[in-house]
Amino acid sequence: MLTQILQPQILVLVFMGVLLGIVFSAIPGLTATMGIALLIPYTFALPELAGISMLLGIYLGGMYGGAITAILIRTPGTPSAAATLLDGYPMAQNGEAGKALNYATVSSFIGGTISCIILILIAPQLANAALQFGPAEFFALAVFGLSIVGTVSGKNVTKGLIVAGIGLLISTIGMDPIGGVMRFTFGSSNLSSGVSFIAALIGLFAVSQVIKEVETKMKSAHQKVKYRRHKLAIKEVMSNWFEFLRSAIIGTFVGIIPGTGTSIATFVSYNESKRFKKPEKKAQYGNGTPEGVIATETANNAVTGGALIPLLTLGIPGDVVTAVIFGGLLIQGLTPGPLLFQQEQDLVYSLFGTLIIANIFMLLIGLFAVRYVGKIVDVPKNILLPIVVTLCFIGSYSLSNNLFDVWVALVFGVIGYLLEKFDFPLPPLILGIILGPIIEANLRRALIGSGGDLSVFMTRPITATFLLIAITTFIFPLLKKAWYIYKAKPSMESDLKS
């Protein structure tokens, strides 16, 4: 097996794949999915292992590359990097771009490797667990995801809730997932499948940032951020071992559940990272704490191993990227599913081997590239901003070669700018847009299945557990606040008396 993997041809193709994946996901609007789809025709002529290894390389690189632009120019190249900018961009603004990028690279490597090991060890057992997720479970998981609003809202939870509500409303645009009826499309077929999520993401974070920068530039002389090099010490990595491990496990498990996607994994991981921290530490989240970057970047790369589990063992692609890889496998004459493990065991384990190698390549490329790409923060804003705007618009257009998506990015740019100007946090909006369709469709599916009986959300163990955690996550901070106010009250009264 080892001799198969270590052929020069395979190594070169995996390397090319990882590099291409990083570049594709770093550029907003170009996604790893597109990279894989465009390269599939070239794999027609390659041998099985070589062709698929290359596609897996793109997949892996694609999970990581988005972090680079998220950290440096607040433009998440892919949805999986949306949570990375919460702390990554503030770090870069504090002059710690090098550190943020190094952490992102190492996190991606560790996340990818741990999930790959889980994939190798217990793939078939876990696959069946994934099938336990029915409509009621998806609903509960998504509600749990939504309860994270408090964590990503920053100081003002009320405003966070309002914004999340707007996000949920936006997510209802398009065809009703159950009845097939058009909603809020105003007769435009451009809106019939909803607002393009990636275009909205580009608008909310990147375009709005450009508007903001232009405004500050007009008002005052711009303070310049200087890029500082950061040398990664093994000790630093080791001291965060628990952060890495927890995030990797969260990423892998969310990845296993078909149809959940990387964005949920990153937000959940971010939430869990913050949950058990001391209050002083909690306050640093969102202002540039390395743990934030570790949590999201470890989780999104850990999704890769997780998502490959149902794909390879059950023949069920969990998201768009794995669906495209599914197509790539079919073209090679391989049908993913239970038979693949029995009939093509050699090949499957060789693929796992190349995944590990792809992770190593990603680490090397990342650590090497940090020295150069990090300097982007030194580029004067009057040169950088027009480039960012151009990238945003080309990116939005190329999503589906549709000018309409450029308008979406522009409109969301203005929305993002206005929201931030009035201190409304943006991440809850993203959560609302991502989770809205999952919550709605699965709530209705679960109720169709139960004939309208709501007890289905309490009698199923996984569902009940998730809903309980969601309620706790949401209520606990409020109770704590109420407790503090209650405790503070007597002293206030005594103050008044004296």
């Binding site: 609007g29 999915t33 097939g180 077929s189 299945g449």
Partner: protein, 322 residues
Amino acid sequence: MILFAMMLVFAAGCQSESTSNETAADFPERSIDIIVPYAPGGTTDTSARALASVASQYMPNEVEVNVINKAGGGGVVGTTEASSAKPDGYTIGMTTSGPMTIKPHTDNTAYNPDTLKPILQVVGTPNVLVVQADAPWEDYDEWFEYVSNNPEAFSYGTSGAGLTQHISMEAFTAETGAELTHVPFEGGAPALSALLGGHVEGALVQTTEALPHIQSGELRPIVNTGTFKPEELADVPLLTEKGVDVQSDVWTGLVAPEDTPDEVVQILHDVFKEVLEDEQVIETFENLGVSTSYAGPEDFYEIIKQDYDINGDVLKAAGIID
């Protein structure tokens, strides 16, 4: 590498407008674009790319054939684009039964089957109703007896509301009086995983999607709702064989804008008919599990028109449209 990526973007984005006025006699003089109304990577896209990769060998003047993805609106955006392109044969669409015969009823599309000129049908895939392998129903008759006697007890998943699978089942219930519970998912794969996990009792999906699970013994085919039987599922009866007059496939075909000259359509038809018989294309299609299903311009028009009319009736009866 960045340059390469940027070039791909621009290549995907650029569509040169022609300035000269060619006549049909020397068609084609430059490259031909096929608009695929879905994102890269799906079966339609991959099939189109397989056709495009060899098409230039068969084209007069050996011109290139490019695939351009215009996703959105369940195929409507790209199909609209293809129907409103300059009718010179240089821009054609590879579209499917959904946007051609269902969406015009539900979406108020700018096109309908009569404003597009069919070139040829490329792929046809029937749908098959599958249940878990340990389900109590061994065959269609047992299953039909169960659903006839237990209204709304049988839930089935499909790839979405108002799509071919859903409409076929609505037509089936209208025809037989059986009452089923429909649970729409986002695509065939989620519907299948819900079935495998026991969250629905059955699923109606394309035969190509169900085949691996049938072959591995996890799922049992009950009935085929299409017009023909794929080789691997030769034992599964068609609904029409069971006395229920419901039959429609999910198909893919090439279409041109309405005013494209007939001679140009003929040239394109002849080329792509040959492409369909190309060995490399046959092999790719085989691996993808799709079966070529050729129909010339007239036959293809009949198929489109018939599906369009039936779908309209069923959608009305099901209360999805007025």
